[in-house]
């Protein structure tokens, strides 16, 4: 690609034309310091528009912002001719960004969108173009990334900041905008793991469907909003309480039975190295006893305790399945 190196007045650069912008955030402090100290090492790329018009930025949005902040009147740029193709511009924009740092998912989405545009929507071709530019994406990922760009800004930001997985973000396509935004807020606040994001989203979504409400409405219930807005609360604990509350609401009968079982087990007073587990979902009537021991005399001791436990009326109470009749 033919490009000239020219000194350009910053006033002649149109920063509102951001069609080639990939970077997602403002310039980091380190960039300002480095440009302030050493000047521009890597030159921004701009494209000449019609003779009387301003230059459009192709790569280097953050560098130009820093130069402006530093009060520079002019900046040296690599200038592409007006006739440079969209494809050339996108190649430069992507390579310039991707070779120096790893792009977050939102930035990858913007890059993918640009390539899809020049490839007339052919994701396979777009993926082939992306590889040599330093962007490792397959056609399936490209299609997913494009969908991300249609989601509300807070969801995009949560994905960009690694607070929400791309797949969960795409699940939010099935809910209204305020619900998607509310869920993004939850992820930003509580930073759940991907598994927990999935669990919480599924629970909230299904609860909302059952109650004919939006997910945002469910989250606005006092049970949840109190947890989410608790001041000075430990984030991990908040997350734990939220998951428990959600589980109790989503499975009210099962969770009641589980709580009752735990209470009865306490009443039985099992020694610390023994446990009784209920059958999964209380579906079968087979309970499991576990004993932990390392010495034979510990096992003898357990056997004696076990004999006493088996005579304890609380054991009958624990195994009593009449709870089944009163959901």
């Amino acid at each position: 690609m033919q490009a000239e190196t020219l000194l350009i007045s910053l006033d002649a650069i149109d920063t509102r034309d951001n069609r080639y912008q990939i970077s997602d955030s403002g310039p980091p402090e380190a960039l300002s310091e480095s440009i302030g100290e050493a000047g521009l090492i890597s030159l921004p790329w701009v494209q000449q528009q019609a003779a009387d018009k301003a230059f459009r930025i192709v790569a280097g949005f953050r560098r130009i912002t820093v130069c402006r902040k530093l009060g520079w009147p002019q900046v040296t740029c690599r200038v592409l001719p007006a006739g440079a193709s969209k494809l050339s511009c996108w190649k430069i924009a992507i390579a310039d960004n991707a070779v120096t740092r790893s792009l977050n998912l939102l930035e990858q989405a913007r890059a993918a969108e640009g390539l899809m545009d020049v490839c007339d929507g052919d994701a396979k071709q777009a993926a082939q173009l992306a590889g040599p530019l330093g962007l490792r994406v397959n056609p399936e990922l490209i299609r997913k990334l494009i969908r991300l760009l249609a989601l509300p800004g807070p969801v995009q930001q949560a994905v960009a900041q690694n607070r929400m997985s791309l797949n969960i973000a795409l699940d939010l396509e099935s809910v209204d905008e305020s619900s998607a935004v509310a869920f993004a807020g939850l992820c930003q606040n509580l930073k759940p793991t991907v598994n927990h994001q999935q669990e919480i989203f599924t629970g909230l979504y299904e609860l909302a469907r059952l109650q004919d409400k939006s997910l945002a409405d469910v989250l606005a219930r006092s049970d949840f909003s109190e947890i989410l807005h608790a001041t000075r609360a430990d984030r991990r604990r908040q997350l734990q309480v939220l998951r428990r509350t959600l589980y109790n609401m989503r499975f009210p009968n099962l969770s009641r039975s589980e709580a009752a079982f735990e209470q009865k087990k306490k009443n039985l007073g099992l020694p610390e190295n023994m446990n009784i587990s209920a059958p999964s979902g209380f579906e079968s009537n087979v309970y499991t006893l576990t004993i932990r021991f390392s010495l034979s005399r510990q096992l003898c001791d357990c056997a004696e305790k076990l004999a006493a436990i088996s005579r304890n009326p609380e054991l009958e109470n624990l195994l009593d399945r009449s709870f089944n009749e009163n959901p």
Partner: protein, 370 residues
């Protein structure tokens, strides 16, 4: 049944059944060497489960025509035998397991009826009491608009004494059967559900009233009847709705002619859930309080099942204390708590149903061993 495309497997092309269907459908057919191309065509569709409902593949059944019902060991199975006449269904129920069972699901009709009849004759020759149904991998009567299989089966069963055929349906396509000499060796059976479930979860099926009208017609002609409340679905107001169905049932049907009524609650392989969510966006049936059961299927938390069954059984027993009620795939605890007994060994539930078939359908023969 609305067929959009007709495919015929090369090896099935020369069968009389194929010729009959071609002349009846009056549409161009494509002969194929291998069904793979049809499966791929369906698989590429944005809604494969829907696409498979209007593509008919005429093929041969290369496996067994008679198979055991695929029950699991923990839950009590009825020991029914399946006569494998074809696969999938032109109706469209949200909860239909066939959507997830076949990959991809496609309407297949087996045309090698001579082999099917040979299998049946060999089975009849054993003289063993058995219950055989066609409604496991498809609806028993949807095929009647393309091929009159049911009348032929009624006739075949009427000529022997040990086995009874159960035709299970959600249609009303009974008219061609009414005048047949069935000798009570065919049980006409309907799946029943509440108006709300039929309206919201069972696309293209007959309304409850229409099913009962069809059942009434069959009862007038002396056919033994059966009803299956399966899958029963929990929703607000479901208890009253199921009681109402039972009231309608017994206001029109004489319980003395009912061989059995089965109950089963909605259960599904986890693979079905995303299919229902995608295809039946308004349906909430997959969002209830399910647990993963011992057979890997999702089932309502047991106390919820017990409560629902108990209410329905109470209503049935109020109208028809003598009628035999059984559970489809439930465990001993559910039997005990809802019915006060579990099927007695030896023989268990299969023996209980066989004996009932003997009593109502006049079967005679040996009871199967074990």
């Amino acid at each position: 049944m609305k067929i959009r495309k007709l495919y015929i497997e090369q090896s099935a092309a020369d069968y009389p059944v194929t010729r009959h269907i071609c002349s009846r459908l009056e549409m161009p057919a494509q002969i194929i060497d291998n069904p793979e191309s049809v499966y791929q065509e369906i698989g590429r569709s944005p809604d494969p489960e829907k696409a498979g409902k209007s593509i008919l593949l005429l093929t041969r059944n290369r496996g067994a025509f008679l198979r055991d019902c695929p029950g699991t060991s923990y839950y009590t199975c009825c020991g029914y035998q399946i006569l494998h006449i074809g696969t999938y269904c032109s109706m469209d129920c949200a909860y239909c397991i066939l959507q997830a069972y076949f990959h991809p699901p496609v309407l297949q009709f087996f045309v090698n009826h001579a082999e099917m009849e040979t299998s049946l004759q060999q089975h009849f020759a054993k003289g063993e009491i058995s219950r055989i149904g066609t409604g496991e991998f498809t609806d028993s009567l949807i095929w009647e608009s393309v091929y009159p299989l049911a009348p032929r089966l009624v006739e075949l069963f009427s000529r022997q004494k040990a086995c009874v055929l159960e035709l299970k349906t959600k249609t009303t396509a009974v008219d061609p059967l009414l005048d047949l000499a069935h000798h009570k060796k065919t049980i006409m059976a309907w799946s029943l559900n509440t108006d709300a479930v039929i309206a919201n979860q069972e696309r293209g099926t007959a309304a409850l009233g229409a099913r009962l009208t069809a059942a009434e017609k069959c009862q007038k002609q002396g056919f033994p009847l059966a009803f299956h409340f399966d899958p029963m679905i929990l929703y607000n107001g479901c208890y009253a709705d199921y009681e109402n169905v039972i009231e309608q049932l017994f206001s029109r049907i004489d319980p003395a002619g009912i061989v059995w009524i089965s109950l089963g609650s909605f259960r599904f392989m986890p693979e079905l859930k995303p299919i229902v969510a995608r295809r039946f966006a308004a349906s909430k049936i997959i969002y209830n309080e399910f647990i993963r059961a011992i057979d890997g299927k999702m089932r309502y938390f047991k106390p919820l099942r017990i409560q629902l069954y108990s209410r329905v059984i109470e209503a049935i027993k109020f109208h028809a204390p003598e009628v035999l009620v059984y559970f489809c795939m439930e465990d001993t605890e559910v039997w005990q708590k809802c019915l006060g007994h579990a099927p007695a060994e030896p023989g268990g539930l299969p023996m209980m149903l066989d004996q009932r078939a003997v009593q109502i359908c006049g079967l005679s023969g040996k009871f199967p061993a074990g």
